[in-house]
């Protein structure tokens, strides 16, 4: 798989009159997993939407391989860049197979509605996400974790070198969160896809991402290797939260221990 260059320069993003992101430059490392973290309303989902051309920038541009996103026909773009929005909903009764099949839409035409390539991509996506046995089940009858796997399978079947995921672990219990993140890791390592995801959990971001972008108030506060970005100082700035950062005993990546106003047995210097 080729290594796509996704980047943005001088980006201003706004909803009506409210500017959310201003003069932002970002470059997504190709072939790696990038996590965007930050407090609520810091503009991280807005940035992801702009990278996926779901939101048109007011100023600046997002570029894929040197071409502005808005100058690439949307179907062509859909063969190179996939986006899984937050909390998508399927029509009642839609089967997993039907859902995953729709991921092939950008590859289909009026006369070629179901090619051999479509069929192998769908079977491959079902196998890669471990839901081949669920193919005939209705999406709305699945558990939260299975349902998220089905949606990721749809995005996998789309077969894009770049995959953007908006909070893929939201509404999942801890076991399913880890399960989905492991799956994303496999997609990156086995198929070389460039992945950008918005994550809430800093510790998971540290474990699973190669590159972390920390945002606050529509700006990038720090970016780079998780070990360099996730420090007590940066967390204090980005989240207005005192914390201690130690080493994750399982993965060796940074582990953030938050400190609130209560339940802190050790006295901290003020």
């Amino acid at each position: 798989m080729m290594t796509p260059e996704l980047q943005a320069g001088g980006l201003q993003l706004a909803y009506d009159q409210r500017v959310v992101v201003d003069d932002l430059d970002v470059k997504v490392p190709p072939g790696r997993i990038t996590a965007i973290v930050g407090a609520n309303a810091c503009g991280k989902s807005t940035l992801l939407r702009a990278l996926a051309r779901l939101l048109a920038p007011r100023r600046g541009a997002v570029e894929l391989d040197g071409r502005a996103l808005h100058s690439i026909p949307t179907r062509e773009l859909a063969r190179r860049l996939g986006i899984l929005p937050q909390g998508p909903t399927a029509p009642e009764g839609l089967t997993v197979l039907d859902l995953v099949t729709r991921g092939r839409s950008p590859h289909q035409t009026w006369w070629r509605q179901w090619s051999q390539a479509d069929e192998s991509a769908v079977h491959g996506a079902l196998a890669a996400t471990g839901i081949t046995d669920l193919a005939g089940r209705a999406v709305d009858e699945l558990s939260g974790g299975q349902r998220q796997r089905a949606w990721i399978a749809m995005a996998v079947a789309q077969g894009t070198p770049v995959l953007l995921l908006d909070e893929p672990t939201t509404y999942l219990d801890l076991a399913h969160q880890i399960d989905v993140l492991d799956l994303i890791h496999d997609l990156n390592r086995n198929e070389g896809r460039t992945i950008v995801m918005v994550l809430h959990d800093l510790n998971q971001a540290c474990r699973y991402a190669d590159h972390v972008i920390a945002m606050k108030g529509g700006r990038i506060v720090a970016e780079g290797d998780p070990a360099d970005v996730i420090t007590a100082e940066n967390v204090a700035e980005v989240f207005d939260l005192r914390c201690q950062v130690t080493t994750d005993p399982v993965s060796g990546t940074p582990l953030v221990i938050p400190m609130g106003r209560h339940h802190t047995s050790q006295r901290q210097p003020r």
Partner: protein, 353 residues
């Protein structure tokens, strides 16, 4: 001769490949469509052959193609056939239009008779009757005008950085009540004979339809039905929500506008020809969806269900009761129990309907 491969799939469909052509076949959907088409044909044939002046089935079919004695030809070609054809076309147009709107908005309540389009036609026609415009403008033209004005209002008022299905429904319901109130006011202030004529049209009536109603509808549908069926492929991504659809390369606003224009055209010309026949656009797609076992209203099956629904109801309205009833009364009475039965059965089966 290209090789044909059929692979059975867990989702109850077959892959068909005749390179460079390829597609998927759903046996159950095809069976349902064939059965609906056959049933509609039988109902139309029955409607053409039965009546105060009985004609045999064969005689009727021969008269359709222009063979027979002058009396039979007159009755079949000028009286019974146009009525049956208008019923068939109006039903198909309403069913297909309902499927388009329900798919576009991802909501079963979003049929054109729930979001004000048919009520707009009603207000325009009743205003024409009460103010005496019908001498210059035909009822058909007024019905068309009313639907188009209403659809444009819904679209413009629902626009806010693009449209969403939800806003179209809410704005449509608001405008629907305004149109209904305006119609009620016009009926109340009209003369008694005007009010009677207005109510007759508002019920939806196929009595006395001739080719002048059938022809404009047939010509419009010759364009809009293929367009609607072609757009059906693009709605497969739209059903997953706007963001997912954009991500899959669908130009959401363009497709939604094309769907809106097609759906409005179908319901406008259908209403102009047959009046606002109740419940068809809402129920036919939902009945078709349950018959075909799909998760969305299948467009072709919805049109065929609508056609069978209206022709069957008109036959019942004309023959089952001591006095002839307008078809719009029967569609509600027949359609609601069928839909309720399908819904209840689906819930018991645990598939959620």
């Amino acid at each position: 001769m290209a090789a044909k491969t059929l692979t059975p799939k867990p989702g109850a469909h077959f892959r068909i490949a005749l390179p460079p052509l390829s597609g998927r076949l759903r046996p159950r959907l095809i069976t349902v469509c064939a059965a609906l088409a056959a049933a509609t044909f039988l109902v139309v044939a029955w409607a053409v052959s039965m009546g105060d002046f009985p004609i045999t089935f064969t005689e009727a079919l021969r008269a359709v193609v222009g063979v027979g004695d002058p009396g039979t030809l007159l009755i079949v070609q000028e009286l019974r056939l146009p009525r049956a054809v208008v019923g068939l076309l109006v039903g198909f147009a309403f069913g297909l239009s309902g499927a388009i709107f329900q798919t576009m908005t991802r909501n079963a309540l979003a049929s054109p008779d729930m979001i004000g389009f048919t009520q707009g036609a009603g207000t325009a026609v009743v205003a024409g009757i009460v103010f005496g415009w019908t001498s210059t403008l035909s009822t058909q033209a007024l019905g068309l005008l009313g639907t188009f004005v209403m659809a444009a209002l819904v679209y413009v008022l629902a626009w806010r950085r693009g449209t969403t299905g939800y806003r179209i429904i809410l704005v449509g319901i608001g405008l629907q009540w305004m149109a209904t109130s305006a119609t009620d006011y016009l009926v109340a202030r009209g003369m008694q004979f005007q009010a009677h004529a207005a109510l007759g049209w508002l019920t939806g009536n196929l009595n006395g339809r001739d080719w002048s109603q059938a022809l404009p509808l047939a010509l419009t549908m010759a364009v809009l039905v293929p367009a609607a069926l072609a757009l059906g492929r693009l709605t497969r991504t739209l059903q997953l929500g706007d963001d997912v659809a954009v991500g899959l390369g669908t130009r959401v606003q363009v497709v939604r506008l094309a769907l809106l224009v097609t759906g409005v055209g179908l319901v406008a010309f259908g209403t102009a020809a047959g009046g606002p026949i109740a419940f068809v656009a809402l129920a036919a797609p939902q009945i078709a969806q349950r018959l075909a076992g799909t998760a969305w209203p299948p467009p072709l099956a919805a049109g065929l269900t609508g056609a069978l629904f209206v022709t069957g109801s008109d036959l019942a309205a004309a023959r089952l009761f001591p006095m002839e009833l307008p078809v719009g009364i029967v569609t509600g009475v027949l359609g609601a129990p069928i839909l309720l039965w399908l819904l209840i059965r689906a819930n018991r089966a645990g598939s959620g309907g």
